[in-house]
Symmetry: C2
Subunit: 108 residues, 2 copies
């Protein structure tokens, strides 16, 4: 979790620092609908490497926007879900989704 002093003055810059990155945004897009397992995310995010996926998940967990839950099962199951804070990011992703939709439709 970032400390207050490490945050930029500008609110947009603050948001960008936490989620202004390709893979984090795509992970969030997935987690908005339901919890996802590690390998499930990996298969869904075309082109992401295991390393980058773990690094992104760790970073988002540290920032308090996602929650990692380990189920003591066979075989091991780890689920990633949005925290309450993560849920509050939904309007941003919704706006991006809407814009992308419009943009793509403008080509038809």
């Amino acid at each position: 979790m970032l400390k207050k002093e490490e945050l930029p003055d500008c609110p947009v810059a603050t948001t960008v620092q936490l989620i202004g990155n390709k893979w984090k945004l795509l992970i969030l897009r997935n987690l908005l609908s339901r919890p996802w397992r590690f390998n499930e995310l990996r298969r869904s995010l075309d082109g992401i490497s295991q390393k980058v996926l773990t690094e992104s998940l760790r970073s988002m967990e540290n920032d308090g926007i996602i929650i990692r839950t380990v189920y003591a099962e066979v075989s091991p199951r780890v689920e990633y879900s949005l925290s309450e804070l993560g849920e509050t990011l939904r309007p941003i992703l919704d706006a991006m989704q809407a814009w992308g939709q419009e943009y793509k439709e403008s080509f038809e």
Copy 2:
């Protein structure tokens, strides 16, 4: 300007491909209020190098979200402003601004 075939299926991924990058988002934040000159942007975006600023501006110009206007004056004046398409990004930046604000306030 990207062609339709180069865009990912997912609308969020499409948006991310165009503006999912630290400096582009901060440039947009500035341009939402008014047109900015090159060196004015450079001074405002703390830590950006001239190279990265020009590259970001060129890329956004190619994608049709900003407009570069050269005024034949002494000394040369170049202004960057949002295109109509760029204007439609406002809700995304607004959502990011609102979230960052809330997030920062949660530390007080």
